[in-house]
């Protein structure tokens, strides 16, 4: 059960095809699979549909794949921090399927859990609900949302053991576990690969069964909005 690969490109070898659906972890620039995104840029794979809450910024994260026009369609909840994303969308060059953030997370988790559809109140009565089945439970209206079954998931964790058991750090967890779950194949990048037995079995956030290939690498971990407060002077 060899899961550890030497580089992002090696880890993606044989997994890519034009037109595929990729689920990506991360929120804003936090916890994004930056190494795997770079490898996707290099690979030249195109016509991608990418399910990811955001699309990075213009020159970092998924923004790089927008810049090279490798993405045909995004499934996202927020485009606010990405000028090129918004421009491509408004000019009609890029398809964009808006998903409420929680619906997107739940659709990924559902796909990973073998649930092809679920009902949610979120978005009922809005344009998000257009064309979706409505059903009444306990006197309230809900809309049907479908699970996402991705061809590939790319995610980033803090540490993983060689069997793929992974832990995340603080809010860098975000979409990574649900994205990992919904991939037919999941490739994970981490800051450190450790030996089995190093991580406490009670602390594993994502069991290795969800992780098929694994790489370790240096991460830039860029901060999007650096906000600080001043130390009060005595």
């Amino acid at each position: 059960m060899k899961k550890v690969y030497g580089s992002a490109s090696e880890a993606l070898d044989g997994l890519l095809h034009d037109g595929m659906l990729i689920a990506a972890g991360g929120f804003g620039l936090c916890g994004i699979p930056e190494l795997l995104i770079d490898a996707l840029v290099e690979s030249g794979v195109k016509d991608l549909t990418v399910a990811s809450n955001n699309a990075g910024v213009d020159d970092f994260g998924l923004g790089k794949l927008l810049a090279t026009r490798q993405i045909k369609k995004m499934m996202s909840s927020y485009v606010g921090e990405n000028a090129e994303f918004m421009r491509q969308y408004l000019s009609g060059e890029l398809e964009l399927e808006f998903n409420p953030q929680g619906t997107l997370a739940e659709r990924m988790r559902a796909g990973g859990a073998g649930i092809p559809g679920f009902y949610t109140k979120t978005g009922y009565g809005t344009q998000i609900a257009e064309g979706k089945e409505v059903k009444t439970f306990h006197g309230e209206n809900y809309i049907l949302e479908e699970g996402i079954f991705a061809d590939l998931a790319i995610v980033k964790a803090w540490k993983a053991d060689t069997t793929g058991n992974a832990i995340f750090r603080k809010t860098a967890r975000n979409f990574n576990p649900p994205a990992a779950m919904c991939g037919k194949v999941c490739v994970m990048e981490v800051e450190e690969i450790v030996e089995p037995g190093t991580l406490d079995p009670d602390h594993i956030h994502l069991p290795g069964i969800y992780v098929h290939r694994l790489i370790q690498g240096d991460h830039e971990k860029r901060i999007e909005q650096r906000t600080v407060r001043q130390k009060e002077t005595a």
């Binding site: 929120f27 804003g28 620039l29 936090c30 916890g31 809450n53 996202s76 909840s77 927020y78 485009v79 606010g80 921090e81 918004m86 969308y89 408004l90 808006f98 409420p100 953030q101 929680g102 619906t103 997107l104 997370a105 739940e106 990924m108 988790r109 949610t120 109140k121 979120t122 978005g123 009922y124 009565g125 809005t126 344009q127 998000i128 803090w158 995340f168 750090r169 603080k170 809010t171 860098a172 967890r173 975000n174 979409f175 990574n176 576990p177 649900p178 956030h205 971990k221 860029r222 901060i223 999007e224 909005q225 650096r226 906000t227 600080v228 407060r229 001043q230 130390k231």
Partner: protein, 207 residues
């Protein structure tokens, strides 16, 4: 004198009760945290955190620790982290007692619009649709009118909705209004603002 941003945030903080788990939106709602005083409030950040602390001191920023506005923040002793599916599970499941959110438009039926202006500004709904659908009590904080002086408190929203019939209370620079079955009810006026001032600035039905 209409309230300024900080006064609106201060007024909004009065909506919060001891022991509540609360989600604060981006903009003025973020300022509400400065006015909770002694109340035991736990702030949720929908990107996967309960118990959000203040901004870090310079040099202590952690790229793995941000809020839903992508700002660097800190943790508290009560903090817990979780993934996005769990985070929105607690939102959708009604575990968050209150959300305080900004708005572009709000209607007398409690409809809320705050995620896009067609053909012009597209930010996306982020977590707002989930919050208004799931949270126990939705309080909107916004300016009563836009920069042209047109009312943002309307009979019907003109912009794409974030949620239908979801707003419980509206706090504007002019005062506080509740959404009722019959229309909007003025709960409170900012100091020096009269009921008539609010009615004049409001397109929606006031009852």
């Amino acid at each position: 004198m209409p309230w300024d941003r900080n006064q609106m945030a201060e007024r909004a903080a009065q909506e919060l009760e001891d022991g509540m788990y609360v989600n604060l939106g981006i903009g003025i709602p973020t300022l509400v945290a400065n006015y909770v005083g002694d109340k035991d409030i736990t702030l949720q950040s929908e990107n996967g955190m309960l118990g959000m602390g203040p901004f870090p001191f310079e040099g202590e920023e952690d790229p793995d620790l941000i809020n839903a506005g992508k700002q660097t923040i800190t943790e508290l002793r009560r903090t817990s982290y979780f993934d996005s599916a769990t985070s929105f599970g607690m939102i959708r499941g009604g575990k968050i007692a209150a959300a305080i959110l900004g708005a572009m438009e709000v209607s007398e039926k409690g409809d809320l619009a705050n995620w896009m202006i067609p053909g012009k500004l597209v930010k996306g709904m982020g977590g707002a649709m989930d919050l208004v659908a799931g949270v126990g009590r939705v309080v909107v904080v916004m300016d009563h009118t836009n920069k042209h002086g047109d009312s943002k408190v309307l009979k019907e929203c003109t912009l794409p909705l974030t949620g239908k019939g979801v707003v419980d209370r509206i706090i504007t620079n002019l005062g506080v209004l509740d959404v009722t079955h019959k229309g909007l009810h003025i709960v409170e006026c900012a100091e020096g603002v009269t009921r008539e001032d609010i009615i004049k600035a409001t397109e929606a039905t006031i009852v």
